[in-house]
C-alpha cells in the first residue's frame, strides 16, 4: 500500500490482485489482522494530520504491544450510514478480517430517520459477517439540543444493533472527549489530536480482546 506505484485504473483489478499478493496478511496467513475502520470524519481525522487520527494511533499502539496488524483508514468526512454497504463492498476485496463500524453520526446531525440508519448499518453488519469479518460497533450519542426523544432513540439504536447481531459495542466512542472544549476543535464536534489520543485508548480497550497476537 505504501509504495506509490503509478496507477493505471484500467488495470484496477489487476492491481488489486498485486495488492493482495503484497499484503502481508496474505503472505503470513492467519497470524496477521487487517482492521478496516469504516467511518466518517471522526475516523478520517477531520481537522488533524493523518498521523494524529486514531486509526494511525491504533496501528502504532498495537505494534508497540507486539500485535501484527494493518489498520486501514476508511473514513470519509460527511458520510452517512447509507454509504456503509457500498464502501464495505469496495474494501472487501482486500479481505479485512476485522471491521470497526463508525457511521451514523452524520445521520443524527442531519436529523435523518433513526430507523433507516439502523437498517443501513444492519445491512453492512450482515454483509461483513457473511464475509467472515468480526465486527465491532462504535456507539454514538447526539448533542442535547436535538431533544430528548431523538437523542434517546438515536443512542439506543446502536445498542439494539449490537444485541441483534451479537457484536461487541463501544458504548460511546467519544467518551471523555465530547463536550470538552479542550479536546475538540472550534466547531465543537471534531476532536483535537489529544481527543484522538483518548479515543484511540477507548477503542484499544474494546478491540484488544478481538485481535490475536
Amino acid at each position: 500500500m505504501k509504495q506509490s506505484r503509478r496507477f493505471h485504473p484500467p488495470k484496477l483489478l489487476f492491481l488489486l490482485g498485486i495488492l493482495f499478493l503484497l499484503n502481508p496478511f496474505q503472505l503470513y496467513g492467519a497470524t496477521k489482522t487487517t482492521l478496516l475502520m469504516l467511518g466518517d470524519s471522526l475516523t478520517a481525522g477531520y481537522g488533524v494530520d493523518k498521523e494524529q487520527a486514531f486509526p494511525f494511533l491504533l496501528q502504532k499502539k498495537f505494534e508497540m504491544e507486539g500485535y501484527q496488524i494493518t489498520v486501514i483508514n476508511g473514513g470519509i468526512s460527511g458520510s452517512t450510514s447509507a454509504s456503509a454497504l457500498g464502501r464495505l463492498k469496495w474494501y472487501s476485496r482486500i479481505q479485512p478480517n476485522l471491521l470497526f463500524l463508525e457511521l451514523g453520526a452524520n445521520d443524527g446531525l442531519r436529523g435523518l430517520s433513526v430507523e433507516s440508519m439502523k437498517k443501513n448499518l444492519g445491512k453492512a453488519i450482515q454483509f461483513a459477517q457473511a464475509k467472515g469479518m468480526r465486527v465491532i460497533l462504535a456507539g454514538m450519542k447526539m448533542p442535547l439540543n436535538y431533544g430528548d426523544t431523538y437523542t434517546k432513540q438515536f443512542e439506543t439504536a446502536f445498542h439494539e444493533l449490537a444485541e441483534q447481531y451479537k457484536i461487541p459495542i463501544i458504548p460511546f466512542l467519544l467518551e471523555g472527549v465530547a463536550g470538552n472544549p479542550q479536546l475538540n476543535l472550534a466547531d465543537g464536534i471534531h476532536p483535537t489530536t489529544e481527543g484522538h489520543r483518548i479515543i484511540s485508548q477507548t477503542i484499544f480497550k474494546h478491540l484488544q480482546p478481538l485481535v490475536k497476537k
Binding site: 485504473p9 478520517a44 477531520y46 452517512t80 464502501r87 474494501y91 435523518l112 442535547l144 472544549p181
Partner: protein
C-alpha cells in the same frame, strides 16, 4: 501686496468674459467630480447596508459556550464605540408536531434583533420591535418559516414540541437576515425568544449550539482592524483552539464577500479616476492660463516689477479663479444633485439614499484652491526663466517656455507627484492601488509625451501636401507643438481614465453576472448513494421535476504533486471558515468528481478539453482538470502530475486543463475533475440539484422524497441564492452605473479642454479670415487639426488604459480581465468626435464675429 491684489482683480474684472469662461470650464469639471464621487459614496453605503443585512449586524462574536458578562465587556472594549448590541442563540433540533418530527434550525433572539435588515412576516409585513416585544418575546411563542408548517403538517396557531416546551406558532416568517450558503437550510428556521429557548432545556451543557453577539458600530468604524484586534484578543484570552470567532458583515457570505471586495476596490478606482480627471482638467486650464500670461509677466518685469511680485499676481488670479470655480461647483452640486437623484429615482434601487458627500466637496475645493499652486509650480519654475528681453525681439514673439529640463524643473514636479500619490492612496484606501495607479499614470504621461512630441514633430517636418488646408494644418501642428503637446497629454490621459473604468468593469461584470444558461437551483441534494441515483431520477421524473447536475463526488486525499510532497500556500489565520479551509488543506482531503463535458458555468482557461473517456489500453495517465484559482493555491500547473489517495488506492493523473468556474451559477462545481472511466469504481456519493420548484410544491415534494429516500439530505438554497443574487445584482448595477458616470464625467472634462483649446485659436482664425481664407477651409483646417490630436491622443491613451487595467486586474481582481475592443474604439471615436465637434462650434462662433475686435495686435 495690496497693489497686487488690486491689480489682479482689476485685470480679472476687465477681462470678465474670459474669467467667466475659465470659471465655467473649471466648474463643469469639478461638478462632474463631486457628482461622481458623491454617487460612488452613495452606492458604497447602499451596498454596505445590504451586506450588513446579511449578518443583521456590523460585527458578530460567536461561541459554542455562552460568554460571561465579563468576557463580553472585555471584548467590547476592543470594538470602540458600540451603538447597539443584541444576543442570539442558534442550533439544530428535532421539533415535533402531533403529526411529524423535523430537523429545525432554532434561533433564539431578543429585543433589538435584527440590527440591520428586517424580518418579513406574513403578507410582506415587516416585523417591528413592538411586534417582537408584544408577540414573540412575550411568552412561549414561535415564528416559523411557512415551509416548516407544511413539513410538520400543522398550522399557525397550533403548538409545537420544542424540547421541554410547547410553544404556540403565532407568525410566519417570509424573510429574515442571515444566510451563508452551506449552513443554509438544512432545517427550516424557527424563531423564539432567547429566554424561552433557555427553558426548552436544549441549550444545556452537552448540547451543540452557538451563542452569537451582534453589534452595531458607528458608520466609519474600521471593521477589518477591529476584527483583527478581536482575533488577537480572543487567541490570548480563550486559547488558539477556542470556538470563539469574529465575523464582520463582509464575511457573512463567501461569494458576496469576494464581490464586495471587488466592488470596494473598483469604487476606489472610480474615485481615483474621478479625482485625476478633475485634476487633469484643472491642471490643464491653470497651465494654459499661465502660459497665456507669459508676455504680461515680461511686460511687468520690464516695468520694474520683481519676479516674486509677478508670480504673486498670477497665482493670486489663478487661486481666485480656482476658488470661485470650486465654490460655484459646490453650490451647484448642493443645489442640483439632490434634484438629479430625484429625477433618476426610477433607475435607482429601492431604498437607495443618494448622499452629497462633504468629503467630495472639500476635495473639489482643495483642488480649486491649492491645486492652482501645485499644478502650476512646474510652469512657474519655467516662467522664472522668462526674460523680458523677448519683448525686444524683432520677429513674431513666441512664448516658448519649454526650456530644457533643468533640475529645478524636474524638482517642481515632485510636489505634484507627492500630493497626487498621497491623494491616490487616500482615495483608494490602499497603498498598493494608489501606488500602482500613480506609477502607471506617470509612465503613461511619459509614453504619451514621447509619442505626442515625435508625432507633432514628424507631421510638421516631413508631411507636406500640395493641398493648402493639409499643409496649413500640419504646419500649425508643428508650430504650436509646445502648447499642443499639453493638450495632447490632457486628452490622452483623459481617454486613458475614461476607458480604464469600463475596461475593469467588463472583466468583473463577466465574473459576477449570473450565466443565463443555467437555471438557479431550489434544492441541493446530498449523499445520494450510487444505487439511489436511478430510482431517484425516475421518481422525480414522475413528479415532473427532472433532476439536474447529477454529479459524483469521491473523497480523496491529495498525496503527491509531481511525485513530491507539497506545501499548501493557502494558510490563513483568519475567520473560522478560513481556519477550516486550512485544516481541510492539512488533511488534504478533497472532493473529486468526473464528467466529460464542462458545465455551462465552466470554461477552459489553459490547456485542452478531456480527450474522452479514459482509454483502458493506453499508457497515458488519466486526465485531470483543475479550477484555476485552486490550482494557484496548490501551486499546480498545466502538465503537473497529481497523485490522489482514493480511499487507500493511489491514483495518479495529469493536469490537462485549468478551468474557470462562474460560481454565481450556483451549480455543483468541483475544484478537481477527472475524465470519466477512472473513478467510477471508487465508493462515493452523488449530488444533484432541482430547479424551478414553486413555493407551494416545495414542501410536499420534499416530504415525498424523504419518505422514499430517507438518507438523502435536502437543502433548500432558494432563499440564500436569492439573497446573494440581490447583492450581486446591485454590485453589477453599481459597476455599470459607475463606469457610465466615469465616462460621462471624462467626456465633460475633454469637452471643457477642447472648448478652451478652440478658444485659444481665435486669434489665428481671425488672422486667416482677414487674409482672405475661405471659411470652409478654415473650418476644415481646425477640424483636421483637432481631429488628428483627438484621434491620436485618445488612441494612445485608450491603449495605455488596456495595459493599466490589465495590471490593476492582476493586483486587485485576480486577473479577471477581458479586452473589449468595441469599448476601446468607442472611447477613441467618441473623444475624437467630441474634440472635433467642440472645436467646430468654437470656430463657427469666431467666424461669425467681427474680425475687427481682434484685429489689433496687442
Amino acid at each position: 501686496m495690496r497693489l497686487w491684489i488690486k491689480l489682479a482683480f482689476k485685470e480679472l474684472r476687465n477681462n470678465s468674459r474670459f474669467s467667466l469662461f475659465f470659471i465655467l470650464n473649471l466648474t463643469l469639471g469639478l461638478v462632474g467630480f463631486i457628482a461622481l464621487d458623491s454617487f460612488k459614496i452613495s452606492i458604497h453605503n447602499h451596498i454596505q447596508l445590504s451586506s450588513k443585512a446579511f449578518l443583521a449586524a456590523d460585527l458578530e462574536v460567536s461561541s459554542n459556550q455562552p460568554l460571561t458578562l465579563q468576557q463580553q465587556t472585555s471584548l467590547e472594549a476592543s470594538m470602540g464605540e458600540v451603538l447597539q448590541k443584541t444576543r442570539q442563540v442558534s442550533f439544530l433540533s428535532m421539533v415535533a408536531s402531533p403529526q411529524a418530527t423535523r430537523l429545525v434550525q432554532i434561533i433564539g433572539i431578543e429585543q433589538g434583533y435584527p440590527l440591520y435588515g428586517k424580518i418579513l412576516l406574513k403578507d410582506q409585513i415587516p416585523a417591528t420591535q413592538d411586534s417582537l416585544r408584544n408577540d414573540l418575546l412575550n411568552g412561549p411563542k414561535v415564528w416559523v418559516q411557512p415551509e416548516l408548517l407544511a413539513a410538520l403538517n400543522t398550522k399557525q396557531g397550533e403548538q409545537l414540541r420544542v424540547g421541554e416546551l410547547s410553544p404556540q406558532i403565532t407568525q410566519q416568517i417570509l424573510e429574515s437576515p442571515g444566510g451563508s450558503f452551506w449552513a443554509a437550510q438544512i432545517g427550516y428556521k424557527l424563531f423564539m425568544g432567547l429566554e424561552q429557548v433557555e427553558k426548552t432545556g436544549l441549550t444545556k451543557v452537552g448540547s451543540r449550539r452557538k451563542y452569537i453577539y451582534l453589534y452595531k458600530l458607528p458608520v466609519n468604524a474600521p471593521l477589518k482592524q477591529i476584527r483583527k484586534r478581536l482575533q488577537t484578543q480572543i487567541a490570548d484570552q480563550f486559547g488558539p483552539n477556542s470556538s470563539v470567532a469574529v465575523k464582520t458583515h463582509h464575511d457573512a457570505n463567501q461569494q458576496t464577500k469576494r464581490f464586495l471586495g471587488y466592488l470596494n476596490d473598483y469604487l476606489g478606482l472610480v474615485s481615483l479616476v474621478a479625482l485625476f480627471l478633475a485634476g487633469i482638467g484643472t491642471a490643464y486650464l491653470f497651465r494654459s492660463y499661465l502660459v497665456k500670461k507669459t508676455k504680461e509677466i515680461a511686460i511687468l518685469l520690464s516695468l520694474g516689477a520683481t519676479k516674486r511680485e509677478t508670480f504673486q499676481l498670477v497665482l493670486l488670479q489663478i487661486a481666485f479663479l480656482g476658488t470661485a470655480s470650486a465654490l460655484l461647483a459646490s453650490a451647484l452640486a448642493i443645489l442640483f444633485l439632490p434634484l438629479l437623484s430625484q429625477v433618476m429615482q426610477n433607475f435607482l434601487p429601492k431604498d437607495f439614499q443618494s448622499v452629497l458627500s462633504w468629503q467630495s466637496i472639500l476635495l473639489a475645493l482643495g483642488m480649486g484652491t491649492l491645486g492652482s499652486v501645485v499644478f502650476c509650480l512646474p510652469v512657474l519654475v519655467r516662467i522664472r526663466n522668462v526674460k523680458a528681453q523677448i519683448l525686444f525681439q524683432e520677429n513674431q514673439m513666441e512664448t516658448n517656455i519649454t526650456g530644457g529640463f533643468s533640475k529645478a524643473a524636474l524638482l517642481s514636479y515632485c510636489p505634484i507627484l507627492l500630493i497626487a500619490w498621497m491623494l491616490a492612496v487616500w482615495q483608494s484606501h490602499s497603498w498598493l492601488v494608489g501606488s500602482i495607479f500613480i506609477l502607471s499614470l506617470l509612465a503613461s504621461f511619459l509614453i504619451l509625451g514621447v509619442i505626442g512630441w515625435s508625432m507633432l514633430s514628424i507631421v510638421g517636418r516631413y508631411f507636406s501636401s500640395s493641398y493648402l488646408i493639409l499643409r496649413l494644418s500640419f504646419r500649425n501642428l508643428y508650430r504650436n507643438r509646445v502648447s499642443l503637446l499639453s493638450s495632447f497629454l490632457a486628452i490622452g490621459i483623459g481617454a486613458l481614465l475614461i476607458n480604464l473604468i469600463p475596461q475593469v468593469q467588463e472583466g468583473l461584470q463577466q465574473e459576477i453576472t449570473q450565466p443565463e444558461s443555467s437555471s438557479l437551483p431550489t434544492f441541493f441534494f446530498f449523499d445520494i448513494q450510487p444505487e439511489q441515483v436511478d430510482p431517484l431520477q425516475q421518481f422525480l421524473e414522475e413528479q415532473n421535476h427532472p433532476l439536474n447536475n447529477i454529479s459524483p463526488m469521491i473523497r480523496a486525499r491529495l498525496s503527491l504533486i509531481n511525485g513530491g510532497t507539497y506545501q499548501d500556500s493557502h494558510v490563513h489565520l483568519g475567520d473560522t471558515r478560513e481556519q477550516e479551509e486550512t485544516k481541510r488543506a492539512r488533511n488534504r482531503a478533497y472532493n473529486l468528481s468526473y464528467r466529460l463535458e464542462l458545465s455551462a458555468d465552466e470554461s477552459i482557461v489553459e490547456g485542452r478539453a478531456f480527450s474522452g473517456t479514459f482509454n483502458m489500453e493506453s499508457d497515458a495517465l488519466p486526465e485531470i482538470s483543475v479550477e484555476i484559482r485552486f490550482a494557484e493555491r496548490l501551486g499546480v500547473q498545466l502538465g503537473d502530475q497529481l497523485t490522489f489517495d482514493v480511499q487507500g488506492i493511489p491514483i495518479e493523473g495529469k493536469v490537462v486543463n485549468l478551468r474557470k468556474v462562474q460560481w454565481t451559477g450556483f451549480q455543483p462545481n468541483f475544484f478537481i475533475l477527472f475524465q470519466p472511466g477512472v473513478l467510477e469504481q471508487a465508493p462515493g456519493t452523488f449530488l444533484a440539484t432541482l430547479s424551478q420548484v414553486t413555493a407551494q410544491e416545495k414542501v410536499s415534494l420534499q416530504n415525498k422524497i424523504i419518505q422514499k429516500f430517507a438518507n438523502i439530505s435536502i437543502v433548500d438554497v432558494s432563499r440564500v441564492i436569492q439573497k446573494v443574487l440581490d447583492i450581486t445584482h446591485q454590485i453589477s448595477w453599481a459597476l455599470q452605473v459607475m463606469a457610465l458616470l466615469a465616462v460621462f464625467a471624462g467626456l465633460i472634462v475633454v469637452y471643457s479642454l477642447s472648448r478652451f483649446n478652440a478658444q485659444s485659436r481665435q486669434q489665428e482664425i481671425n488672422l486667416l479670415k482677414i487674409l482672405g481664407a475661405d471659411f470652409p477651409d478654415i473650418r476644415s483646417m481646425i477640424l483636421l487639426e483637432f481631429g488628428m490630436i483627438g484621434l491620436l491622443a485618445s488612441a494612445v491613451g485608450a491603449l495605455l488604459s488596456l495595459v493599466i487595467s490589465r495590471l490593476l486586474s492582476f493586483f486587485l481582481f485576480e486577473s479577471l480581465w477581458n479586452v473589449t475592443w468595441s469599448l476601446t474604439f468607442a472611447t477613441i471615436f467618441g473623444i475624437s468626435i467630441l474634440s472635433m465637434a467642440t472645436a467646430y462650434l468654437g470656430v463657427r462662433k469666431t467666424l461669425r464675429q467681427n474680425p475687427n475686435s481682434l484685429l489689433q495686435a496687442v
